[in-house]
């Protein structure tokens, strides 16, 4: 092989345009001649450098349009994690210059961190001022919080339970400390949290055990000891020890008046629990009413509602009146409480092998996938929502990447063309929507595939997460599903190899729906509004 031929063959190899015979000749040459290998490396490096150079000039193409997420306060520690991830991504992008739309960028997250000292354990008719609506189970953001109206129950990491009645302004300073600017607060302090304190303008209450309440207004603080003992440390005055049944009203000018403790004047934990149970039951009824109507939607191919099935039965009926999909067969998944707390109304897919097997005949031009899930954590590279067996032509796959992005694809071709550079499918990723602070919260996730508008839209809790046009060469107009699994991925069933990939969702699902059409943003928002617990 002369040098000219050698360099031509190397270029052909790098272009992916080499015959098998020439490949073998080149391999033989590489095996014996170090200079040939160096030339190979030089030419590879040149190609990479040219790509970098060319990439800098034209970085156009399809773009993912990120929609403004429902305003969420960035918590400093998250920002730090984000910075690391961004740094990682920057390493990948800047140095490789190879990020094309649709490429899989798998940024591995460092050890997950979250920020806060307390979670919302329950709330009734709450309106939060100057911060987005906080979901049950959400971490309480740092800083001063304003509850305009309603009642919220907070669980501090120290074990203290606090019920706050709006209108109130307060701040959780640490798991053992809280500030109240105004409003009514009732705290139950377990033994490990003795020494818990609440600051007001007039002074400071230090709990010595069990339960007390505070009513704070512009220039007056009332302390009521409902059980156990507290210390009252007024500003510039000696500490007073107060016992069960005692109460004090303390004014800004340092005058104290003794009162009788009034437990009835403050909403307690059990009162709130009753309220919450009643509210949840009424929301659940509302959803049942709406979902009955939804079941008659002619576009509905399947709706599986774990709550409607007989708990002892491993069959999950398809409740869609016109639905052509089969009933579901529950495998391994255990029954747990649904999103309204109703026992047995949801399936927990965390046991390995968990899935619901379904069969969906037919072909669809457009589809909507919609589900209610509670995710414990995303601990796999792929965390399944709905996947067809194997991955055959025209089949959709719907899952969540380990880094928190939603993944949707429809297989267009059998194989990626090594020579042509074509991929077998285009993957529609949402921006990252999940992080550890959402763990344990019920979320409604939906994705619509619209072949007419050539658009894929991802939704979280009724709001658009992102939209991406379907590239013309990846458009599939006859989406087919066949045998599929909810919350897991099944390789073809006749295979005899017992080893399998672990892709089950580490979390619960209480509802899954498939429509033979792309629902509108308004319809998705309505389903969320009626379906949220």
């Amino acid at each position: 092989m002369n040098r000219q031929e050698r360099s031509q063959l190397i270029d052909a190899l790098i272009e992916g345009d080499i015959s098998e015979a020439d490949f073998l000749r080149l391999e033989a040459e590489f095996s014996v001649d170090p200079a040939a290998r160096q030339e190979y490396f030089d030419r590879l490096a040149l190609s990479a450098a040219l790509e970098t150079e060319a990439g800098a000039a034209s970085d156009s193409g399809r773009k993912i349009v990120a929609m403004p997420a429902p305003a969420r306060r960035w918590i400093p520690a998250f920002a730090a994690i984000a910075a690391i991830i961004i740094a990682m991504a920057a390493v990948a992008v800047v140095l490789l210059q190879n990020k094309r739309p649709g490429d899989a960028v798998v940024a591995a997250a460092p050890e997950p961190k979250a920020s806060g000292f307390a979670v919302i354990a329950g709330q009734s008719d709450t309106v939060w001022k100057n911060s987005p609506q906080l979901a049950d189970g959400a971490l309480l953001p740092a800083g001063s919080l304003q509850l305009a109206s309603g009642i919220a129950q907070l669980e501090l990491f120290s074990g203290v339970t606090v019920v706050v009645e709006g209108d109130a302004e307060f701040e959780i300073v640490s798991p053992m400390e809280m500030k109240v600017a105004h409003g009514k607060v009732r705290a139950r302090v377990p033994e490990p949290a003795q020494g818990f304190r609440i600051h007001t303008t007039e002074g400071e209450v230090v709990d010595l055990g069990t339960e007390f309440a505070l009513k704070v207004s512009a220039n007056q603080s009332e302390v009521h000891v409902l059980d156990g003992e507290v210390e009252w440390h007024p500003r510039a005055e000696a500490m007073r020890r107060m016992e069960r049944g005692e109460a004090l009203s303390w004014s800004a000018d340092g005058k104290g008046t003794a009162l009788a403790a009034n437990a009835a004047g403050f909403v307690g934990m059990s009162d709130l629990r009753e309220k919450l149970t009643a509210a949840r039951a009424s929301r659940r009824e509302d959803w049942q009413r709406v979902s009955k109507a939804l079941r008659r939607d002619p576009r509905l191919v399947a709706i599986y509602q774990a709550g409607t099935a007989d708990p002892g039965n491993r069959r999950l009926p398809n409740e869609a009146s016109a639905g052509t999909a089969s009933e579901g067969a529950i495998v391994a998944a255990a029954r747990v409480a649904d999103r309204w707390g109703m026992p047995g109304g949801a399936l927990d897919f965390s046991p390995t092998g968990s899935r619901v097997r379904v069969n969906v005949p037919g072909e669809y031009r457009s589809i909507t996938l919609l589900t209610w899930v509670k995710i414990n954590s995303l601990d796999r590279l792929y965390n399944s929502l709905f996947l067809t067996d194997g991955h055959d032509l025209h089949e959709p796959h719907w899952q969540i990447m380990g880094d928190g992005r939603l993944f949707f694809s429809v297989k267009k071709r059998d194989k990626s063309g090594r020579k042509t550079g074509e991929k077998d499918q285009h993957i529609f990723y949402s921006p990252k929507f999940w992080n550890a602070s959402l763990s344990g919260q019920w979320l409604m996730i939906a994705t619509t595939y619209d072949a007419d508008a050539r658009m894929v839209t991802h939704y979280l809790n009724g709001q658009v997460l992102s939209q991406e046009a379907v590239p013309a060469d990846y458009l599939v107009e006859n989406v087919s599903i066949g045998a599929a699994s909810i919350c897991n991925w099944s390789e073809p069933m006749y295979r005899k190899d017992a080893a399998f990939t672990i892709r089950n969702l580490n979390g619960c699902m209480d509802e899954f729906a498939l429509f033979a059409a792309a629902l509108t943003p308004k319809e998705i928002a309505d389903i969320y509004a009626h379906g949220k617990p």
Binding site: S7, Q8, D11, A12, I14, E15, G16, D17, I18, E20, F23, E27, F30, S31, R37, Q38, Y40, F41, D42, R43, L44, A45, L46, S47, A48, A49, L50, E51, T52, E53, A54, G55, A57, S58, P76, A79, A80, A83, I84, A87, M88, V91, A92, L95, L96, N98, R100, D103, A104, V105, V106, A107, A108, K415, S416, G417, R418, K419, T420, G421
Partner: protein, 180 residues
């Protein structure tokens, strides 16, 4: 709040990882010549390296470790593709590639500077052709169709331009070495 560089191990690891991006990519591409997915595989190798960062023993050969992880990613990728293995180099050759690419001088920056200077020396239409070709991941056939040229003719032109660039860059590098 903890700024990321509060963790010296992590920032040191990022620095190490940053330092081997070019050789890592080169190595992965040498194993998957002509495969547009090579970059994805290299990215995946980065992600895996980051996940396994605690496995790396500081003071040992980072490049060698990273390359072994990258090779494993390539094998996984090939398995997943389940394609015929016609165009796969022998295992020994792949190992030789790893050793030799690891031993190559890093000089990515000087090389890139040299490339820029050498690109300037090309005729504008040639430069444009190269930029156009490398901005797209499409095939030579698609590109030829777009450019309204024959595939054979385009191949010859691109090959000639690459040869010219390589020769020019080697001269530049030698001149630099001569100066220093």
């Amino acid at each position: 709040m903890q700024p990321p560089d509060d963790n010296p191990n992590e920032s040191a690891f990022v620095a190490l990882l940053t330092g081997i991006q070019m050789p890592l990519r080169l190595y992965v591409q040498s194993l998957l010549p002509g495969d547009p997915a090579a970059k994805d595989v290299a990215q995946q190798a980065n992600a895996t390296l980051w996940q396994k960062r605690d496995d790396f023993a500081p003071g040992t050969n980072f490049k060698a470790w990273a390359f072994s992880v990258a090779r494993y990613e390539v094998l996984t990728y090939r398995k997943k593709q389940a394609r015929d293995a016609r165009l796969v180099f022998s295992e020994e050759l792949e190992e030789t590639f790893a050793e030799e690419i690891a031993a190559r001088g890093d000089g990515a920056e000087q090389q890139h500077e040299a490339l820029k200077r050498c690109l300037e020396k090309l005729r504008p239409q040639d430069r444009e052709l190269l930029m156009h070709r490398y901005a797209k991941s499409g095939t030579l056939h698609d590109f030829a169709a777009q450019a309204g040229r024959s595939v054979g003719g385009l191949k010859v032109t691109l090959h000639r331009l690459r040869n010219a660039l390589l020769e020019c860059m080697q001269k530049q590098t030698r001149a630099q070495e001569g100066l220093s």
